[in-house]
């Protein structure tokens, strides 16, 4: 092997700017999450109490273990709620900036659409659409490269899972038309 150095430079043209204003502070998110967890703890706790959280002649009822866990979860989230309100550090810390949120949504929304599309078009068609669309629209990569990569990847997945390993994925009209 030669000793020559290979320089690697990767640019990120759509990187989030560093000085973007924050959307929400860590404290607010922490409070909201604590409230949600508290609500979850109460719901689950109630459901388990209804199932039966006491003792039978043979031992604890099915709801016993989760009921007490709900109480622990509830207690910890209550504590978290108070701690989040009291924390100065969390108030000053940014949870996400506008630029960051935009980038996160740029990957999250296509993912949601992809899962939706999987239900109707099958996984393989949906994955072709996701990869080519994402590369072209978000990554600003040349159309032919996007389409080729998406096709190669999807085909490779199909061969690996459907043909070689017999793991069956959801399929749609295209696969039906091709008789698979």
């Amino acid at each position: 092997m030669s000793n020559t150095d290979i320089e690697i430079v990767v640019e990120d043209p759509t990187a989030p700017e560093a000085n973007s204003p924050q959307v929400v502070s860590v404290r607010v998110v922490d409070v909201v999450v604590s409230l949600l967890l508290l609500a979850l703890a109460i719901t689950l706790g109630y459901d388990n109490w209804r199932t039966g959280a006491g003792w039978e002649s043979t031992g604890p009822q099915p709801g016993y273990f989760p009921f007490y866990l709900s109480i622990i979860l509830g207690g910890a989230s209550l504590y978290g709620l108070v701690a989040a309100f009291a924390s100065r550090r969390e108030a000053s810390e940014s949870f996400v900036t506008q630029a960051q949120l935009r980038r996160v949504l740029a990957v999250f929304i296509p993912t949601v659409l992809f899962v939706l599309a999987t239900q109707f078009l099958g996984l393989y068609v949906a994955s072709f659409l996701l990869i080519s669309g994402f590369m072209r629209l978000v990554g600003k990569i040349a159309l032919w490269k996007s389409l080729l990569t998406a096709f190669v990847f999807t085909a490779a997945m199909f061969v690996t899972f459907d043909v070689a390993f017999d793991v069956i994925m959801p399929k749609g009209p295209l696969e039906a038309a091709l008789g698979r």
């Binding site: 030669s2 000793n3 020559t4 150095d5 290979i6 320089e7 690697i8 430079v9 990767v10 640019e11 990120d12 990187a15 989030p16 860590v26 999450v33 967890l37 689950l44 459901d47 388990n48 199932t51 031992g59 604890p60 009822q61 099915p62 709801g63 273990f65 989760p66 866990l69 709900s70 979860l73 910890a76 989230s77 504590y79 978290g80 701690a83 969390e90 996400v96 960051q100 980038r103 996160v104 740029a106 990957v107 999250f108 296509p110 993912t111 992809f114 899962v115 996984l123 994955s127 990869i131 994402f134 590369m135 990554g139 990847f153 899972f161 390993f165 793991v167 069956i168 994925m169 959801p170």
Partner: protein
């Protein structure tokens, strides 16, 4: 020694072309995952797990553990060449590794990192080889109360010894245990927490949650960062490798110390990150010229890498011997065992000898093959970083979806995975640790069963957890660890009160 004979048998199981090929594939995939930004050991194993569903358990675990070794090696590549730690435990490697690369000694630093990871894991695997059978045969005598006490000990040590805010660890753990309980109750057959939803009848699958928590959420987190990078990839020549290896004996104290720290912290849950920093700091403290650390000193690469890999590997010891994973990745491997129909725990050593010793032998072999592979192919892997993230991200999303669907053939699981992705993203940003959640989710049902069986056996008397010396001391230790921060503080103030009296 019986262990050596069984180990040889394990090698015999492995040495077929098919297994060796799987091993290479696993290593290459693992290095790939380790080099890619935002993905590391647990994520890689979680995403690639579905590939193994149709294999026999031995091939599957060999491939998965090789993915894991590969990811560990891959993490070192990015830490040294680009100053981007692939995982939290590679952070300490960047302190001296990156300066070395800047001085044009990248090849040396990489060789040091790979060699020391190799040594660290080797020591840990040897520990597993000799200790795991002993612990498991000891654990065969365990009844439900002892098992519950051990589970309790695991959970309590996460709360008491973890670095995160205590209430956040408690939240993460109780949430995981609760979600594990959703669906059919295994003891009475009654439905719990399903709210009459047919989808929740199946319960929340551990692997679906893990793929979401580690795969999808990592993508979201990575997108927030600036993904530009700049660095040099150097080819490693045989001459450099030999010269580094020739100097190796000089650093034996560092290597032994770091291996020891790593093994110790790896067996206790959640230790790999702490191990790498501790290894680095101790090497620095004992060095004669401490100032040269952080400026490209080869010991600064040896120390954290050895410790991190020793702990990453020894985390598999409690998983194999007791069925209790010592790290997030071990928890995922444990989830894999269950998918392949194996029941993790001490019985594994009795009922599935081929499997266990095949796995242990694969750790030896995987490390050797991995070392050779990374030393020869570094430049190729470093150039993977040129692939734009906009191409990698959707592919990972697709792989995650395939994985989540393949487990139970349910579209609902893909949505669930997406939900867990968001949960993981938010939890990570507000400091709720994910490892206890993963552990609780995978151990939840077994912990509850152990608790209920011991309660049934004892007629509902909690004293059963102190009924004999063994279970009593484990339970007591668990409670001590749970309140360790308080006890530690109390001791501190007592000694402070006593000191002026003495003086």
């Amino acid at each position: 020694m019986e262990a050596i004979g069984l180990l040889m048998h394990g090698f015999a199981v492995l040495l077929t072309w098919k297994t060796l090929l799987l091993m290479m594939t696993g290593l290459v995939l693992g290095i790939f995952v380790g080099v890619l930004p935002g993905l590391g050991g647990p994520n890689g194993v979680a995403i690639l797990l579905p590939l193994t569903f149709t294999m026999d358990p031995t091939s599957a675990i060999v491939m998965l553990s090789c993915i894991y070794w590969g990811a560990l090696f891959g993490g070192a590549i990015t830490s040294i060449l680009f100053n981007i730690p692939g995982e939290a435990w590679s952070v300490a490697t960047t302190f001296d590794g990156y300066p070395m690369a800047q001085q044009g000694r990248a090849a040396e630093a990489l060789t040091a990192a790979f060699t020391s990871s190799f040594i660290g894991s080797l020591v840990a695997v040897m520990l597993i080889t000799f200790l795991a059978p002993m612990i498991s045969s000891f654990a065969l005598k365990f009844g439900p109360p002892e098992f519950f006490a051990v589970y309790l000990l695991t959970f309590c040590s996460f709360v008491g010894l973890g670095r995160e805010a205590k209430h956040k660890t408690v939240i993460s753990m109780s949430l995981g245990l609760l979600l594990a309980g959703i669906g059919m109750d295994t003891v009475s057959g009654q439905l719990r927490m399903t709210f009459d939803s047919p989808e929740l009848l199946r319960g929340i699958n551990f692997l679906v949650a893990v793929i979401g928590l580690f795969g999808i959420s990592e993508i979201l987190l990575t997108m927030e960062e600036r993904l530009a990078l700049r660095g040099h990839a150097a080819g490693i020549s045989l001459r450099v490798v030999l010269s580094v290896w020739k100097d190796l004996p000089k650093y034996w104290v560092t290597l032994v110390r770091s291996s020891f720290i790593g093994c110790w912290l790896g067996i206790t849950p959640g230790g790999a990150i702490a191990a790498s920093f501790m290894g680095y700091n101790l090497a620095k403290r004992f060095a004669k010229d401490q100032d040269s650390f952080g400026k490209g000193r080869i010991e600064g690469v040896f120390a954290p890498e050895t410790a991190a890999h020793a702990s990453g590997t020894s985390a598999l010891l409690p998983m194999l011997a007791l069925g209790i994973p010592g790290s997030g990745t071990a928890a995922i491997l444990l989830g894999g065992l269950m998918v392949w129909g194996l029941n993790p725990g001490p019985l594994l050593f009795v009922e599935h000898k081929d499997f266990v010793w095949g796995l242990i032998a694969s750790m030896y072999l995987g490390n050797v093959v991995g070392l050779v592979l990374v030393l020869t192919t570094v430049p190729i892997f470093a150039s993977i970083l040129r692939v734009p993230f906009a191409a990698v991200a959707p592919m990972i999303v697709v792989s995650c979806a395939i994985g989540a669907y393949a487990i139970q053939n349910a579209i609902f699981d893909i949505w669930l995975m997406l939900g867990f992705g968001v949960v993981g993203y938010v939890f990570k940003k507000i400091g709720i640790p994910l490892a206890p959640f993963t552990l609780a989710l995978v151990l939840g049902n077994r912990a509850e069963d152990a608790f209920r069986l011991s309660m049934i056996g004892a007629g509902g008397d909690l004293k059963v957890f102190w009924s004999n010396g063994l279970v009593g001391s484990i339970t007591t230790l668990a409670i001590v660890l749970l309140f360790w921060p308080l006890i530690d503080r109390a001791f501190g103030s007592i000694t402070r009160m006593l000191r002026p009296a003495k003086a």
